[in-house]
C-alpha cells in the first residue's frame, strides 16, 4: 500500500468504512427519490418532449424550418453539435488522462463524467444526423458506395473523418464506462432485496464476482483503455476543428484550431461536470466523497484550460493582423465590432474573464460561486462556437452575399430539447446507476480517508 503525505487533504471525509461507502452509494437506488429529483426530471422530460416535437417537425418539413439561410448554412445545428461534443470531452479526460496521471481525486467524479460524455455525444449526434437535411439518407455517411452505385465517400474530407472519430469516440467511451460499471452493478445485485431489482442488476452485472483474476484483468483493461482513449479524446476535437480549419473561410482557416478546440472542449466539459455534480452532491448527499477539495481541483483545471482558450483568442487576433490577409483581418474585426459583436463580447467575458476569478481561493472553494461560474463558462463556450460559425458566415468574401441570422422557434426547440434529453438521461442514470465508482473509491479509503489518515498520523507521532 502506498502511503500518502499527511498534509494532503483527505479525499473522503469522515470516519467511513468499506460498508459505509457501499451504503452511501446504494442509498439513492435502494431508497425513495428526493422531491427535487422528481421536479428536475419532470422539467427535463418536458423539454425533451418539446425537442422531440421540433425534431419531428424538422424531419417532416425539412431544415428550411431552421434559421439557417443561404450563406449562413451552418448555424445553431453545428454550434450545438460542437458544444455538446466539447462537453463530452471532460468525461474521457477525467477517466483516462487523470487515470494515467494517477490522480486519485478523479474517482469521485469519473463515473458521472463518463455518463455525461455518453449523453452529450448522443445530443451532438442528433444535430449532425439532422443537419444533413435528409436524415433518412444518413447511412451514406458510412463507407458504402453512394446510393449503392460505385462511387465511394470521400476519405480526403474532414467531414468523413468526423464520422469515424465521433463514432469511435462514442462507442469506446460507452465500453469504458460499462466495464467500470460491471463491478458496481455486482455490488448492487448482491445488496438489493426487491426481486425485480435483483433480476435487473443481475443482468446488468454480467455475473461479476470480484475474483482476483478478474480484478487483475479489469485493471489491465482499464489502463489500456485509458491509454487508447487519451489520444482518442485529443483526436476527436482536433478532427472536429478540421471541419473548419481545412476550409478556406477567413476566420476558420487557421492552424491554431486543433489545440484551441481541445482546450475549449475540456474547459466546457469540466464546467458541465461541475454543474451536474454540484446538483447531484446536494440531492444524494455526497458531500463526504465530493469534497470542496475536489471542486477546487476541478476549478484549477478550469483556470488552466480557460487561460489556454484566452491565449488562443488573442493569438488569433495577432495572427490575423500579422498575416496581412485583409479577409482574415476583416473576419476578426467583424466579430469584435460587427452587428453580432455582442456575442463576441459575451464569449470574451464568459471564457476569458470569468475563469480568472478562480485565482481567488475563496471563490474557487465556494460551492455557490463555482455553480454560477460553471454555468457562465458553458454559456461562454456556446457563444464561442456561435461566433466562429454564425458571425463568420454572415460576412464572407463577397459583400453581395452578406447576410444576417436569426434562429427560428424550431432551432431553439431542438436545442432546448437536447438539454432536456441530457438532463433526463443524467437524472435517470443518477437514480438507478451507481453515481460514484465505489469499487475504485474503496481502494483509496485507507490512504485518503480522513479518519484513516488521522490514525496513521497519530501512529507516526508516537
Amino acid at each position: 500500500m502506498h502511503a500518502e503525505s499527511e498534509i494532503r487533504i483527505p479525499l473522503i471525509i469522515g470516519n467511513k468504512t468499506y460498508r459505509q461507502i457501499t451504503d452511501d452509494i446504494i442509498a439513492p437506488i435502494e431508497g425513495k427519490a428526493a422531491r427535487g429529483w422528481y421536479t428536475l426530471t419532470t422539467i427535463a422530460a418536458l423539454c425533451f418532449l418539446w425537442g422531440i416535437g421540433c425534431l419531428a417537425y424538422t424531419i417532416g418539413v425539412g431544415i428550411g424550418s431552421w434559421g439557417s439561410n443561404n450563406g449562413v448554412d451552418w448555424a445553431w445545428d453545428i454550434t450545438n453539435f460542437v458544444w455538446w461534443i466539447g462537453i463530452g470531452h471532460a468525461g474521457t479526460l477525467i477517466s483516462a488522462v487523470l487515470l494515467l496521471f494517477r490522480q486519485r481525486w478523479r474517482m469521485a467524479i469519473n463515473r458521472s463524467a463518463e455518463a455525461m460524455t455518453i449523453f452529450a455525444v448522443m445530443c451532438a449526434a442528433i444535430f449532425v444526423l439532422l443537419h444533413t437535411g435528409r436524415p433518412w439518407l444518413d447511412y451514406m455517411l458510412f463507407p458504402l458506395p453512394n446510393q449503392f452505385g460505385s462511387l465511394w465517400p470521400n476519405f480526403n474530407s474532414p467531414l468523413l473523418w468526423d464520422v469515424f472519430a465521433v463514432s469511435t469516440y462514442f462507442t469506446v467511451s460507452l465500453v469504458f464506462w460499462y466495464i467500470g460499471l460491471i463491478p458496481d452493478f455486482g455490488m448492487i445485485r448482491d445488496r438489493v432485496i426487491k426481486p425485480w431489482q435483483k433480476k435487473m442488476y443481475g443482468l446488468l452485472s454480467f455475473g461479476w464476482g470480484g475474483s482476483a483474476r478478474h480484478w487483475s484483468r479489469f485493471e489491465e483493461v482499464s489502463l489500456v483503455l485509458a491509454g487508447l482513449s487519451t489520444p482518442l479524446v485529443f483526436s476527436v476535437h482536433s478532427i472536429v476543428s478540421f471541419d473548419f480549419a481545412t476550409s478556406v473561410i477567413p476566420g476558420w482557416h487557421t492552424t491554431i484550431f486543433p489545440p484551441y478546440f481541445v482546450a475549449g472542449a475540456v474547459f466546457s466539459g469540466f464546467a458541465m461536470v461541475l454543474t451536474l455534480m454540484l446538483v447531484a452532491r446536494k440531492i444524494y448527499k455526497l458531500e463526504a466523497y465530493l469534497t470542496v477539495k475536489h471542486i477546487e481541483y476541478m476549478n484549477i483545471v478550469i483556470i488552466v484550460t480557460g487561460s489556454i482558450v484566452g491565449v488562443a483568442y488573442l493569438t488569433e487576433l495577432f495572427v490575423a493582423w500579422y498575416s496581412g490577409v485583409e479577409w482574415e483581418q476583416y473576419a476578426f474585426l467583424n466579430r469584435a465590432t460587427g452587428p453580432l459583436a455582442w456575442s463576441y463580447w459575451i464569449m470574451m467575458g464568459c471564457n476569458v474573464v470569468s475563469p480568472q476569478l478562480f485565482w481567488i481561493k475563496k471563490i474557487r472553494t465556494s460551492v455557490v460561486a463555482t455553480f454560477i461560474l460553471s454555468i457562465v463558462v458553458n454559456i461562454g463556450m456556446w457563444f464561442e462556437r456561435f461566433v466562429i460559425i454564425v458571425t463568420t458566415l454572415c460576412r464572407t468574401y463577397v459583400p453581395s452575399s452578406w447576410n444576417t441570422y436569426t434562429p427560428s422557434f424550431i432551432d431553439v426547440g431542438i436545442f432546448v430539447g437536447t438539454i432536456g434529453m441530457f438532463g433526463t438521461f443524467f437524472l435517470l442514470f443518477s437514480r438507478y446507476f451507481p453515481v460514484i465508482a465505489q469499487a475504485e473509491l474503496k481502494t483509496i479509503l485507507k490512504t485518503s480517508g480522513e479518519a484513516q489518515k488521522k490514525a496513521v498520523a497519530a501512529h507516526a507521532h508516537h
Partner: protein
Amino acid sequence: MATKKNIIHGVFGDEVPMLEACKKLRISGIRIKDVFSPFPIHGIDPLIGIPRTRLAICAFIYGLTGLGLATLMMWYMMVSDWPNDIGGKPNWAYYFNVPAFIPITFESTVFCAAHGMALTYLLRCWLVPGAKAKNPDPRTTDDKFLILLDLKEEQTAKAESILRECGAEEVNHKGSYTVEPKYVIEATH
C-alpha cells in the same frame, strides 16, 4: 484410494490480514484457489500465483488489425476501385494522399484495439448478460474478503489454523467431495 477434498471459505474484514494469510498459506504449500474482494488489491497477483494477463498483447494485435483494415479499405475505395481527383488532389496512388488518410487509420486502430480487448476481457472472464454471479458469498462485493481453498483432507487443519491465526472473521466449511486418484494433480509449488 480416493482423495477427499474440502472446500473452505476464509472470510476477512480487511485486506491486510487477508494478504498475510495468503502469504502464509502459500509458504506452507497450500494452493489458493481464488480470492474474492470488493475492489482490486494491489500486489495480490504474485502472492497467490496469478500470472500477468496477456490482454494488453491482444489489444496490440487488434490495433494492428484495425490499422490494416482501414488502410486496405481506403486504398480499395479511393485508389483501386474509383480513383478521383478531388480539389486538385488526385488519388492515383495511396501515398499521394496519405496525410488525409491518417485520421481514419488512427480512429480505426483505436476502435479495433478497444473493442477487441473489451470483448476478449468479457468473454475470458465470462462476463455476459445472464451469467450467474461468480462470487461464492454475496458479501464479497460489499466489504468482505474471501479466500477460497480447495484442500486435501490432510491440509485442512493446517489451513484452518493459518486462517484463524491471521484474523479471519469466519472459516466456513462449504462441503467436501472425493476425487479418484487419477484425477488428482499434485501442486508443483
